[in-house]
Subunit: 333 residues, 2 copies
Amino acid sequence: MLDDTVRNEAYRAAICDNPNIFAGKTVLDVGTGTGFLAILCAKAGASRVYAIEASDMAELATVTVHENDVADKVQVIQNKIENVELPEKVDIIVSEWMGFYLLHESMIDSVIFARDKFLKPEGVMYPYKCILHSAPSYSPEIFKFWENIAGVKMNTIGQLYRTKYTGKPEIMQIHPNNILSKPLEVFEFNTKDIQQESIRKITKNVQSECHKNGVVNGIALWFDVYFHAGDKPDIVLTTAPVMSPLQLTHWKQTVIILPFEKTVEKSEKFHYNLDISKSAKNPRHYNIELNILDPDEQSAMSTSEDKSREEFHVHHNDDSEYDEYNSGSDDNN
Amino acid sequence: MLDDTVRNEAYRAAICDNPNIFAGKTVLDVGTGTGFLAILCAKAGASRVYAIEASDMAELATVTVHENDVADKVQVIQNKIENVELPEKVDIIVSEWMGFYLLHESMIDSVIFARDKFLKPEGVMYPYKCILHSAPSYSPEIFKFWENIAGVKMNTIGQLYRTKYTGKPEIMQIHPNNILSKPLEVFEFNTKDIQQESIRKITKNVQSECHKNGVVNGIALWFDVYFHAGDKPDIVLTTAPVMSPLQLTHWKQTVIILPFEKTVEKSEKFHYNLDISKSAKNPRHYNIELNILDPDEQSAMSTSEDKSREEFHVHHNDDSEYDEYNSGSDDNN
């Protein structure tokens, strides 16, 4: 993840280009890993940084803190944040806690815990705001690929892959040209006041209008997080679709592949319902349900339990694995 | 693997652009997978194609053969080649059997078996010639990466990765600019006459001369395979270092990372010994031993069992995993 230069640079800019915010302040870094954010905070002038890491990475963080000559300011603590005691409350909490589509395998619960226990009332959260976006999308490589492989048709195999893909969200890069409507918010929250209860189950009717002709075969999700930058504009780390691989983060985009393709025209309505619910089995996992809606009826296109309903309903449960997508990869010919 | 367009196109050109070779001929495809090569042969005019596949992929191959309207010519047989009986000998054997650095997890033994049992004396092998190349190389991203991550030094972590990398060959892309000498052959063989015994253990003294100033921190390996094209020049599928990701195959290059970096100058000699031996435990795996040689002495720089020798000796055994390299990937910060 350290090779995600977009992410690294966003945090670096948010922290190091804002010495007025960090100078002389106490900071808590939740899940410091290699110590990266904690070290940036010390470099930005923080007087004291508590760097919490539950795993053995804490040892590496300690070494790296020394390597960067900030051992007098950064204290690495190997423990779960839930078991940590600090001698004081802190001015700032920094954390890179975001998972796929913001919430999947995220550490937000730990950040909320840390905030409630350790942040001063007037304290600042880094990042402070998060938005999850969504839009209908087209992933030509998933299915079109199989139509012609050096002159050989493999649609049947493509169909098998389609079945596989619709069983779980795909972590993949969507080109901006393959986003078919203006993105709409699924949800937004501030890390300063969000409660765990509020992100247990998120339901959203998304009423998109296509901004061009095309084909929809997925719903793409991505997020932005915002950092305060004093009197300058916020610094935004975005995981939105980008033209260049150089701008791509390791989160890429998350796509819920549909079991069908739908041709759409400019100005056509494309409505859907997203239900993102915390898994009962694993509190860091989420189940996603997607229902494509009839724009005129504002309800699922069919509510009876017949085949047509199933075709417009995608359910991803928490057993899904989040492999990254490699177009048509295969260990065979 | 089907998304390796360089590979697909080389086989397509070798087979379909040579109808004079395939027209009316009988063909055996060893390890057909999805049926890709067998279907190409039928399209090129083969009268009969035996497509052998041991795994359940054979079912997909059968479906794909029908999808391409060549079921009257291609017979898919689900079995190990060693257990197959055919009603006739064949004119041509096609196979895509190559593994990393040609031999690792390759199917060459099965191809040799098939040739000895099923190929007519005047028969043709596709591909017919294979060459393994090697050259001293530089992989800056493996270690240099850790010197400065958005202003944070992580050399200690980089050192840990160096230890990890030198434990096994890395499958990675080497830019042509980071190849420091003219590539030299490690070995070459013709698939028409190679014997299993000849590829049990391959030892080669490689006496490179650097063609520019630079830093060596690895030995890169890659292969070319050749296809007959009648009276036209051979068609060559190369896995050599390439400028563009579009030209890269899924084999990329294999790099034996050294535990040290050596600054070299133009015209400087860089000699090494490669020992590539079939694993006793797994006949499809190979062990690699690399010894950097003193160009003046033509022997290992130190032969005693002291520390200095260990520093110039890399041994990769068959327990090594062949993960693809992602620069600095990490599940933590």
